[in-house]
């Protein structure tokens, strides 16, 4: 029989939920974090619906849904743009905004006003992009190559609105990155040096550095695109002396680092989740932390592998070498994670399911990435569904799985309620199986020559496309349990208590949800935020470090954050004792 958990309100003032707080301007990083998350998940649903339209259209070789194939072009262009710029790039700003100050023991971010301003750029940017459909949607793909995206071939104003919208998103991104860098550098609690910081914080730091250095190039490229489209400058028009490859190079100089913006925080989440649910210290803390920074740096040296088929021959080999080299720090992480879970006491929570799913799918995506880094392979596979398969394995199998791992892990902290584990696992399996059915076959159709971004295709590919589409429908339907779970758990979920996962990082050493100023008293970080299985960790989780006098004065008794009786599938009798052979 499940043990009942004490009500979250037992040791803190009751704070009723007010929807208006989340619909208005707020300087509280927790409110801004939730605003980010709800906004980006809304865009995720829109982008996902567009994907379903794509897959319906591709059930038959003759573009069954879109008689006018330019509409199909618009659908995949918007799908890619929304998923990348309005979901995967800002989602980590959402989790980061909520949890970075908590994880480092700060009251808020360094610049609360800037934080709110950065968020409030996002909804209008998204609306501008989507409402661009009314004036003629962009049809040049999310990559918007010239001359297709220029004023001659994309006369519709939706492409212009696309550029303006991305400008706003870029500014939001840069302001958020500046905030994260300053917060992480200057506002860590006493006792938390750089190498006592949780790995999610390292990943956000690395990501923020990438955003700061790469996004300005997107801004520059978009500015020139706007000049071409609005002022007739023809900077990218070869007929009048311009250079279309200039756009391609500058765009990818941003967009390749952008893929690391989308995945590196996911790496951080993996480190948190795998360690907590293996009850083991993270293997290779410094290796993981520094490899995030290495990826940030190396990520700027590989962009031209997106244009192998247009490069001068002598430039291809260096980019092949750098593109393969960047697999090394990622491989260091993967092996460190495997070392973390090796001989651990695994708790198969939903979050852990998604983390393990990430490991399997991202590795496949990474391997196909290394394959594509080989010039002759890329010559064959460029512009085919093999690339679509690769990018979805890393974006969905990687980033989205990490987002779900983070969501299931941190939902109790944000809302004070546990998500339903059975529904969560149901969500996982529908997602995992649907994803594999949908995207694994794409490797085959790609290698057999099916081009990407086509509304109609050779009939010989129909069987694979039918399989892919049904996998995608399963994947699409499989996302509904997550949203149902999130909604119903918010109202009727078991109360979480402060630390249902018995984690060591600082965000779990306060109430769920945290009070307005984040902590009841001076936050004291664990000596090792990943020291699971050590006597120090057991003592820390028992609350022995808390200043008792302060707690007593606050009317909380000697142990204000009392240990939470655990749920039946998380026995505690031996979990905090050292596992034999480990430290």
């Amino acid at each position: 029989m499940a043990a009942t958990l004490p009500a979250a309100g037992a040791t803190q003032e009751a704070r009723p939920f007010r929807l208006s707080k989340y619909l208005s301007w707020s300087l509280d990083h927790k409110v801004i974090g939730v605003q980010y998350l709800v906004t980006v998940f809304t865009f995720y649903l829109i982008g996902g619906a567009l994907a379903m339209l794509i897959r319906v259209n591709l059930l038959t070789p003759d573009s069954m849904l879109f008689i006018d194939k330019s509409t199909y072009n618009a659908v995949f262009s918007m799908h890619g743009t929304i998923m990348i710029f309005l979901f995967l790039v800002p989602v980590w700003a959402g989790f980061g905004n909520y949890f970075i100050p908590l994880m480092i023991g700060a009251k808020d971010m360094a610049f609360p006003w800037l934080n709110a301003f950065a968020f409030w750029l996002l909804p209008p940017a998204g609306l501008l992009l989507i409402l661009g459909w009314i004036v003629g949607p962009p049809q040049a793909g999310w990559t918007a190559y010239f001359p297709l995206s220029g004023p001659i071939y994309s006369r519709a104003d939706g492409q212009t609105l696309w550029a303006i919208s991305l400008h706003l998103i870029g500014i939001s991104s840069i302001l958020g990155a500046i905030n994260f860098i300053v917060t992480l550098k200057n506002m860590r609690v006493k006792g938390m040096g750089w190498f006592q910081m949780p790995l999610f914080c390292w990943s956000i730091l690395a990501t923020s550095i990438i955003v700061l250095l790469a996004t300005p190039f997107l801004g520059g490229a978009l500015t020139l695109m706007l000049f071409d489209r609005l002022a007739g400058t023809n900077i990218f028009n070869p007929a009048t002396g311009g250079d279309p490859l200039l756009w391609t190079n500058v765009f990818w100089f941003y967009s390749h680092p952008a893929v690391y913006i989308m995945i590196v925080p996911g790496f951080g989440i993996l480190s948190e989740v795998l360690s907590v649910f293996s009850r083991k210290p993270i293997f290779g803390y410094k290796a993981i932390a520094l490899s995030s920074m290495a990826i940030a740096g190396l990520g700027f040296t590989v962009w031209a592998h997106h244009l192998f088929t247009t490069l001068a021959p002598w430039t291809r080999v260096p980019f092949m070498i750098t593109s393969m080299a960047i697999a090394v720090p990622t491989g260091i992480k993967v092996f460190s994670w495997l070392g973390t879970i090796w001989r651990g006491k695994i708790r198969f929570t939903t979050s852990m399911h998604f983390a393990l799913g990430f490991l399997s799918l991202f590795v496949i995506g990474g391997i196909t990435g290394v394959l594509l880094a080989a010039i002759p392979v890329d010559y064959q596979a460029h512009g085919s569904y093999f690339v679509v398969a690769h990018l979805h394995f890393v974006f969905f199998g990687g980033s989205v799985f990490a987002v779900y791992a983070a969501a299931y892990y941190w939902y109790p902290k944000i809302t004070g309620r546990m998500m339903d584990e059975r529904l969560g696992k149901f969500h996982f399996w529908l997602t995992y199986i649907g994803f594999l059915l949908s995207f694994l076959p794409m490797h085959i159709s790609g290698l057999y020559g099916m081009p990407r971004r086509v509304a109609a295709y050779d009939p010989k590919f129909q069987a694979i496309n039918i399989l892919t589409s049904f996998g995608a429908f399963l994947l699409g339907v499989g996302q509904l349990p997550f949203f149902v779970n999130a909604a119903t758990s918010f109202v009727g979920g078991i109360r979480a208590g402060n630390n249902p996962w018995r984690a060591l990082t600082l965000e779990w050493q306060t109430s769920s949800p945290p009070p307005e100023e984040n902590f009841f008293d001076e936050p004291v970080p664990a000596p090792d935020p990943y020291g699971y299985g050590t006597p120090e960790a057991a003592s820390y989780l028992a609350g022995d470090h808390r200043p008792r006098k302060l707690a007593a004065e606050a009317g909380l008794g000697t142990n204000p954050l009392m240990p939470v009786p655990d749920m039946p599938d998380m026995p505690t009798t031996s979990e905090d004792k050292p596992v034999s052979g480990d430290r």
């Binding site: 023991g105 700060a106 506002m187 609690v189 250095l213 190039f217 500015t223 023809n234 311009g242």
Partner: protein
């Protein structure tokens, strides 16, 4: 009954100053990279032409831009003197130097906007296009920083900022103005001299 808990970690004035300085530094880095992108683009497009300016296109007049360079350098000098005056506690000279800084910035901005408007009517292919793009982005940033400087000047007139009270907005806005001036000098060299 609500229980009041002690707030952890109030941000000290020293920490806030450190935060603000890092904010301005990172902002300048990001904005520099925007201009780096535009300067790179300029050279790529230039190299695609046979000659520069392209055949049949007259070279742009550089005399007035040279005068604007001098005005911007003077205005940056005045900004430096403004900061020194504040540190010396001389509020009269502080205001005067701020007016000189803003005045120089306004002369530049008005001239540049008029130049760009004229350029739109005498367009001459990619040569004009690059001037239009680079100068427009520059003047937009110059106007934004001038607005910030205007706000700071208004606060100085109300008696705000001193060594005792703190004066970061003056430091931040004048540093951003130096950034605007330095970018102008680089763009001038790239567009008129190289």
């Amino acid at each position: 009954m609500t229980t009041k808990y002690p707030a952890p970690q109030e941000t000290t004035p020293g920490q806030q100053l450190s935060n603000n300085r890092l904010l301005i530094t990172l902002t300048i880095i990001a904005l520099s990279l925007v201009f780096a992108c535009l300067i790179y683009s300029n050279f790529i497009v230039r190299n695609a032409q046979g000659s520069w300016p392209p055949a049949g296109v007259d070279r742009m007049d550089s005399l007035t831009p040279l005068l604007m360079t001098a005005i911007l350098i003077l205005s940056s000098g005045a900004a430096i003197m403004a900061v020194r005056s504040l540190k010396a506690g001389q509020r009269g000279p502080l205001l005067t130097y701020l007016y000189v800084t803003i005045g120089g910035g306004l002369i530049y901005s008005v001239w540049m906007l008029a130049f760009l408007a004229r350029l739109l009517t005498t367009f001459n292919g990619v040569y004009s296009a690059l001037f239009l793009a680079l100068w427009f982005v520059h003047v937009v940033h110059a106007v934004a920083v001038l607005l910030y400087l205007g706000y700071v000047t208004a606060q100085v007139r109300r008696g705000r900022y001193s060594v005792a009270e703190g004066w970061f907005p003056l430091e931040g806005s004048t540093n951003l103005w130096h950034f605007v001036t330095i970018v102008w000098i680089v763009l001038f060299v790239v567009l008129y001299i190289v």
